[in-house]
């Protein structure tokens, strides 16, 4: 056992500090989601601006690309996207309330569940309609 100790300052091989996953609560997980959705939206936005820019090229080119948005697979993707935007937006408002409203900190957890609730309601309004639109296309 009495191995000569490494000098304290020597850089040791980095075992990731890691260990188990930190078991955060709603606050941490809502942040994780906020972050993931934010990044997802950002990359979508890059693409979306490029495709919209095609209207400057020609109607045909634009319609060709936008047409792909109408296929069922993209339709499902749009559900995901809209879900992400709604969550990000609602949770963004929750964060803003935490920052600027005196009682925001106290009610942050409640507000998270409200975000979830409103998200469910909005998605319930959007998803069926959207899917009908998307899939009715297939029939045509």
């Amino acid at each position: 056992m009495s191995v000569a100790p490494a000098p304290r300052s020597a850089k040791k091989k980095s075992a990731r500090p890691g260990g188990t996953l930190y078991r955060g609560n709603t606050g941490m997980w809502s942040w994780v989601l906020h972050r993931i959705t934010g990044v997802a939206i950002f990359f979508f936005l890059l693409v979306h601006i490029l495709d919209t820019a095609l209207i400057r090229v020609s109607p045909e080119a634009y319609n060709a690309v936008i047409g792909t948005y109408k296929n069922p697979i993209m339709g499902l993707g749009e559900v995901g996207l809209v879900g992400a935007i709604i969550f990000h937006a609602l949770n963004g408002l929750r964060i803003i309330l935490i920052d600027f409203w005196g009682k925001g900190v106290k009610y942050q957890r409640l507000m998270f569940w409200i975000v979830v609730g409103v998200w469910v309601v909005l998605m319930a309004g959007f998803v069926p309609r959207h899917l009908i639109n998307v899939f009715s296309e297939v029939g045509n």
Binding site: M1, S2, P5, R8, S9
Partner: protein, 604 residues
Amino acid sequence: MTSPSSSAHEETKVIDGVHYHQYDVVIVGAGGAGMRAAIEAGPHARVGVISKLYPTRSHTGAAQGGMAAALANVEEDSWEWHTFDTVKGGDYLVDQDAAEILAKEAIDAVIDLENMGLPFNRTPEGKIDQRRFGGHTRDHGKAPVRRSCYAADRTGHMILQTLFQNCVKLGIEFYNEYYVLDLVMTEVDGVKRPSAVVAYELATGDLHVFQAKSIIFATGGFGKIYKTTSNAHTLTGDGVGILWRKGIPLEDMEFFQFHPTGLAGLGILLTEGARGEGAILRNASGERFMERYAPTIKDLAPRDIVARCMVQEVQEGRGAGPNKDYVYLDCTHLGAEVLETKLPDITEFARTYLGVDPVVEPVPVMPTAHYAMGGIPTNIKAEVLSNNDTVIPGLYAAGECACVSVHGSNRLGTNSLLDINVFGKRAGRYSVEYAKTAEFVPLPQDPAGPVRDMIESIRNAGGTERVSALRKELQEEMDRGAQVFRTDESLGQVTDTITKLREGYKNISIHDKGKRFNTDLLEAVELGFLLDLAEVVVYSARNRKESRGGHMRDDYPLRNDEDYMVHTMAYLTGDASSEHAGDHIKLDWKPVVITNYQPMERKY
């Protein structure tokens, strides 16, 4: 990165793997006393503070109730009354010159802390609020007085934080997680003089020699000689033990305070401030039994008395619980408001550790080993004495490890936070004064040698005994035989056990042979100090054949001023680890300083 925290450590020499440092003043211990001294000394000299814990981990942070000072912010008060209470509380074994200083300088001590930033609770006028505490009375015992300055029930926490903050402000150099294990004495002209301390760096296992002109010991108490205690695991009395082994006498070691209200079975403290706010002790039948014992101030009688009454209630069969082995602290009538605002921490302790909510139920309590009145003998300049009146130049002690003696045979609540501030400050001041004119005492050859030998012999010991088992037996035996009530017989049994444990200690082994953060090794070292101190406590207790303050002898139930109105001085005369205490401990007496108050019967 190594532990010294302020970046400004000077380059140190390393010779044969031992690091050498030089400071004008070295302070051992970063609790309340150590840091108060550092703040006083820091601006005037090169000061290094060595602590086995990060400063904010020191046990001063656990103190709850308050710090006494006759500010008279809420009602009439005077430092003379405070002096009297201190003397009477200590059952007249208090050195009255020191008690006068304590009470007089208390006022400045509190104001100093406030000015440093301590967030005391406030009166409606914005002044420091004060509350009642055991044994503190108006006009020589007429009625309880509001004298304790407090910050909720975390006064010690606030003191520790405030002192640490101010050390940061002053850029005090700390060596954290360095265990001081030896005081180096060099023979100069035939006299042994302190020249340095030797510390073991926990992180690396390296040894450091700190040479200094003045050395202050502020290492706190040693409650871990007992099992049921309010003290931290780290309060193993290293500082007191080190000086003991160097032949410095120890004063009044038989006086150990048992705090009445420890959480039953656990020892975690519930502050006397609770009773200060009006909480009541009750026995199994709900009777407020303190009315019988101390009709005037009832539950606010000094701790020794209350603790004794509690044990008596239990012994006479009036205890509560399935085993009838505790009494109740009833806070229910205080209301949630008072508990949450003035006593939030203890409310939480009861909830967390016993699952009892003080707002609605009484809390099971029993006395818990709390405070060492005795320790390293010092004078009012915090200078350490080598006998009844000889000062050891350059050596200082303050705080719980020291015995000035302002607490006599029983400390009043809130007087210890006061002690660490008043005498910590004095230690700082006088140590600098001394360092200004003194020269470094030269180091002997290989000053770290003895510590290296001790460490290596423990590290390589191939015995069969486990340190933890020995320690457990010591603590249980002390609880059994040297607690609130003791007799010659019970103390004799403890003595025998200690003798046996000493044998065992020679035959230990440890698991961890490594260098870095070897707490296994340090626990073994600490046990050595615990054994030494427990032995002195028991030996001194056996010799005092009377009952006084914290020392209650069932076989000698009365105070005996004729024979025992004197401090005990224990001297090491041989090998501290030799088998029989009688081989190496010699007891002597030291007169008590009396100025104004002649001993009287102690009634409340």
